[in-house]
């Protein structure tokens, strides 16, 4: 990973020095080794803080809504999953594609610091990866963890590939894997209605309405969100429900249905660890079943199954009876 980071930094430097781009969007070092954050670099000096490692899980696409409006070109480093969000935003005319230079970067899956901490390791100072072994060093010494157990949830089932690139920095082949991203959804589907209701009641009751899921979501890019708009009449409804914030999450899932690329950012940023991505995945699974396989963000143009009509589309009854195509 260090070699990838060096290459990226080098390339960013070239682009900034040559004036080809006015800024580079990437990740900068945080206070600790595990909290890098998205950042814009406008000078070569600023690049000293540039970082790309196993903790750079954040999706940079959404930042481009604002940044791509600025004067001059912006270079951005996008991981495979980020490129779907990028395409989706281009499709919705939210990113000015001409102003963006996309550098596709390799991703070997990212780590979830919470999961590492859960393993009893704290005061972490660094990680070193060798195949599936992760050597975690901390103030108290070294611990070796099993890589699949400390991945971000969104990385556990990721099979995404770069959908858009102007150039790429890929030094290592990512191992192929065969996982079912709908396994968790199927478990929920197998529950009785009451069990499922109880599951979500328990999960969503943890919500503190910090809005992090909405704010990070690349599909939630409305100029004015209905929940921030008293005139919409929705904000009040979100609060007025049997258990806290049920409608907020359900309405949000409906709003992003057919547009959600399954980037998993909602669950990554949730401070209460609510598996919000499962709501979206249920929609994705249903859309696949009713209209044929569809992955939002694979294309930067064209219509989506939920906003287009074709002869032979699922009839309301098919949807009601859950009859998949």
């Amino acid at each position: 990973m260090k070699d990838v980071e060096m290459k990226m930094k080098e390339r960013a430097k070239q682009l900034l020095e040559s004036g080809e781009v006015a800024r580079v969007v990437g990740w900068k070092k945080g206070d600790f080794c595990y909290d890098p954050s998205p950042a814009t670099f406008e000078t070569v000096e600023e690049l000293d803080n540039f970082v790309y490692d196993y903790f750079c899980g954040a999706n940079l696409s959404k930042y481009l809504i604002q940044i791509s409006k600025k004067e001059g070109k912006t270079a951005v480093f996008l991981k495979p999953c980020d490129t779907y969000s990028f395409n989706q935003l281009v499709k919705e005319h939210r990113i000015n594609r001409e102003n963006v230079y996309v550098i596709a970067v390799e991703c070997m899956a990212k780590f979830d610091i919470e999961k590492i901490k859960e393993k009893g390791v704290s005061q972490i100072t660094g990680v070193e990866v060798k195949d599936k072994d992760v050597k975690v060093s901390s103030l108290y010494g070294e611990t070796t963890l099993y890589k699949p157990e400390i991945l971000l949830t969104k990385c556990e089932t990721c099979q995404k590939t770069h959908q858009v690139k102007d150039e790429e920095i890929i030094l290592h082949e990512r191992p192929e894997r065969d996982v079912d991203r709908f396994a968790e959804v199927k478990k929920l589907e197998a529950m009785t209605e009451d069990e499922r209701f109880a599951f979500w009641k328990e999960q969503l009751s943890k919500c503190i309405r910090c809005n992090a899921c909405r704010n990070v979501c690349p599909a939630c890019s409305c100029v004015k969100c209905v929940f921030d708009n008293p005139a919409s009449g929705v904000a009040a409804k979100a609060n007025d429900s049997e258990f806290e914030e049920k409608l907020f999450h359900v309405i949000r899932a409906f709003h992003v249905a057919g547009r959600c690329t399954d980037c998993g950012e909602c669950s990554r940023v949730c401070p209460q660890h609510i598996p919000l991505h499962l709501l979206n995945r249920k929609f994705i699974k249903d859309i696949d079943g009713l209209y044929g396989e569809f992955q939002a963000g694979e294309e930067a143009e064209g219509k989506t199954p939920l906003t287009s009509y074709t002869e032979g589309d699922a009839e309301p009854n098919d949807v009601l009876n859950g009859e998949a195509k």
């Binding site: 409006k69 499709k91 919705e92 005319h93 939210r94 890019s221 409305c222 100029v223 004015k224 969100c225 209905v226 708009n229 919409s232 009449g233 929705v234 709003h255 992003v256 219509k303 989506t304 906003t307 287009s308 009509y309 002869e311």
Partner: protein, 663 residues
């Protein structure tokens, strides 16, 4: 402060017999915002309307609710009433307490309770209504007729005779439709081609009619008065402007084994062919599935022999786009597939045929030159058995629940014609009922029985099987209460008819509604029988329901009258209930434009103030109110709720829902 008036109609006993109208009117008096409430026997009558007008003036009403029949019936009436009294017509709401209430309930207490809720809901909505003004849109003075059978031909001729341009789009290589395949027509027995072909020629010669044969409607945009239609002109591999119809190509074509669909596949035809002698246009077409040149690249014989140089193997489908003010759908019918009716042995015996096949066998231009010979061995059949209602009036699920309407009459015709031409032939007809309403129809049927000695047997056939080369027809004779078996040479099945399957695509393109049997739905079964509920779309012929030629022609002329009435106008009033975007909330994401069936939404880059002297350019949606039909699809698609519908705003609908849910 709103001042609402409530008017509850008895509709004679239609509403009053099930709903306590006086109680409803009384309860409404205490609804917040209501300053006047009354009931009356017939609110739509002159006196009823007068009552409304007076109340509006005397009580300074700002909005009214009429609890009556469906808004489809009298909304326009009451809007005019309100307007006459000085109230904006869009300050009127109808609570449908007839179709939605009195007609479907029996218990008076329950129906009254529901009526109260429905009226209360309309009050909740009208309080949020805003005065709206209708705009105007121009009318394109050209009509499109989809389907070139007798229905399409008649409609086109009538419209063109009134001086308007008409295009006929026909998917086959020639116009003429099913009627061109028929031999004689009931009840007068005149030759079908003799009365149809002059009309086909009239179409071809009419300066206002453009026949687009071998073409299909691909895309429809726009709305009444302003449809924009994309038409696919399928490659016929023959230049329509050069072909003289000399038929040399047909003689020379080495690939002659294609099934002749015009003759119901009873004989074969060359790959390049003109469907029948009087085809319009009289231009050849190449079947690409059958043509050796198109399949293998080797042959080209027709091109060599074509004196006009009309053959073009490179021809591709082309598209044209035209504007129309009105559209007539006349897509016709086909006999049903008989695979589900094994008992009649249609798929196993060559001599079990459908009535439409018999038409071709009896037609002078058919495969046997009009001599009735059975398909298996070319012998004259001596005993012919007709079986009626094959798949019609069938509730088993194999066939159609409806009566195909034409079969009783054409079976009588066939039986009579056979007895006339071949008096030594024995003719039996199995029937459930013989249905012959219509001018000179029953007389016609009686002639078949009394004058021509056709043996009508009341009862259904259970089985047709082949025994030593004879077709054994096993059925019941209900009059004599016995099981009978008739040894027959030929069995003719009166197969049910169903709408031509391509009508589904046409209906989808036109957003015209269709029923469970794929028949297009008329706007009102009795009072608007030729209009589709989609404005500007009219229905002629069997696409709307089973009917015979006289009825089809009448309906086509009725369609033409409606189209002429529309095209004669220079401008139409537009519906002011259209979508309106709130630019301050619009993301410019294009989702609304994606779902808009009318192409009413476009985008503009607009500058917005951000505060602090800063501005920002954003892409935002614009709705063309002349094109928007107010369907509301965009409003529910918009993720930020930036799109709303005038007259049906989200707020109005939510307030209605709340009124319904209120205890």
């Amino acid at each position: 402060m709103q001042r609402i008036g409530v008017f509850i109609c008895w509709c004679g006993s239609n509403i009053a017999a099930t709903v306590d109208v006086q109680k409803v009117a009384e309860v409404m008096k205490s609804e917040p915002g209501v300053v006047y409430s009354a009931d009356y026997q017939y609110m739509c009558s002159e006196n009823g309307q007068q009552l409304i007008k007076q109340a509006i003036k005397e009580h300074n009403l700002t909005g009214i609710v009429v609890g009556s029949c469906s808004p489809r019936m009298h909304e326009a009436t009451f809007r005019k009433t309100a307007e006459a009294a000085g109230l904006n017509p869009y300050m009127v709401e109808i609570a449908n307490i007839r179709e939605h209430c009195s007609w479907i309930h029996k218990d008076m207490d329950e129906a009254t309770e529901k009526a109260i809720i429905l009226v209360r809901t309309a009050i909740a909505k009208v309080k949020l209504n805003a005065p709206l003004m209708a705009g105007e849109s121009p009318v394109v003075k050209r009509a499109l007729v989809i389907g070139g059978g007798i229905a399409g031909i008649q409609a086109a001729l009538d419209i063109a005779d009134a001086g308007f341009e008409v295009d006929i789009v026909e998917k086959n290589a020639t116009i003429g439709g099913r009627m061109a395949q028929l031999d004689k027509t009931f009840p007068t027995l005149d030759c079908s081609a003799c009365i149809l072909t002059p009309k086909m020629v009239d179409c071809a010669q009419h300066e206002k009619i453009d026949i687009l044969s071998y073409s299909e409607v691909e895309e429809v945009k726009g709305f009444v008065g302003n449809f924009s239609v994309k038409i696919r002109r399928k490659a016929r591999y023959v230049d329509e402007t050069k072909c003289t119809g000399c038929k040399i190509c047909m003689e020379k074509c080495p690939s002659k084994k294609g099934l002749n669909s015009f003759n119901m596949d009873l004989n074969t035809r060359p790959a390049i062919h003109i469907p029948f002698a009087q085809a319009i246009p009289n231009v050849a077409v190449i079947d690409p599935e059958q043509c050796i040149k198109l399949k293998t690249g080797k042959c080209g014989i027709c091109q060599k022999f074509c004196g006009a140089g009309a053959i073009d193997y490179e021809q591709k489908d082309t598209f044209i786009e035209r504007e129309y003010g009105a559209i007539v759908v006349a897509t016709g019918y086909k006999p049903i597939n008989l695979d589900a009716f094994n008992e009649y042995g249609y798929n196993d015996n060559k001599d079990v045929i459908t009535s439409l096949e018999l038409e071709r066998l009896m037609n002078a231009a058919g495969p046997t030159n009009g001599v009735l010979l059975r398909p298996s061995d070319g012998e004259h059949p001596k005993v012919i058995t007709f079986i009626q209602c094959v798949g019609s009036r069938d509730s088993s699920g194999c066939g159609k629940p409806y009566c195909s309407k034409i079969c009783c009459m054409y079976t009588a015709k066939h039986a009579m014609l056979i007895r006339e031409k071949y008096p030594d032939t024995e003719v039996h007809v199995f029937y459930i009922d013989v249905r012959t309403p219509g001018k000179n129809y029953d007389e016609f049927y009686r002639r078949a029985v009394e004058q021509y000695g056709v043996d009508y047997i009341k009862g259904m056939v259970g089985k047709v099987y082949n025994e030593n080369g004879k077709l054994m027809v096993q059925g019941s004779n209900l009059i004599d209460n016995e099981q009978i078996t008739i040894e027959s040479d030929l069995v003719v099945l009166a197969a049910a008819i169903e709408p031509e399957p391509s009508v589904r695509k046409v209906a989808t393109l036109l957003t015209a509604s269709i029923d469970t049997n794929n028949f297009l739905t008329e706007s009102h079964a009795k009072l608007r029988p030729v209009e589709s509920p989609t404005a500007g779309v009219y229905l002629a012929g069997v696409c709307q329901g089973p009917k015979d030629i006289p009825e089809t022609v009448s309906q086509a002329s009725a369609c033409a009258a409606k189209v002429i009435g529309l095209l004669a106008k220079d401008k139409l009033k537009t519906n002011p209930c259209v979508a309106i975007p709130d630019e301050s909330m619009c993301n410019g994401c294009s989702q609304c434009a994606n779902v808009c069936a009318y192409g009413a939404i476009t985008y503009e880059n607009k500058e917005f103030r951000l505060g602090g002297g800063k501005t920002e350019i954003r892409r935002v949606a614009c709705v063309n109110p002349a094109v928007c039909q107010g369907c509301g699809a965009c409003t529910v698609t918009c993720p930020s709720g930036a799109m709303d519908l005038k007259g049906f705003s989200s707020k109005q609908i939510m307030s209605e829902v709340e009124a319904i849910c209120k205890k």
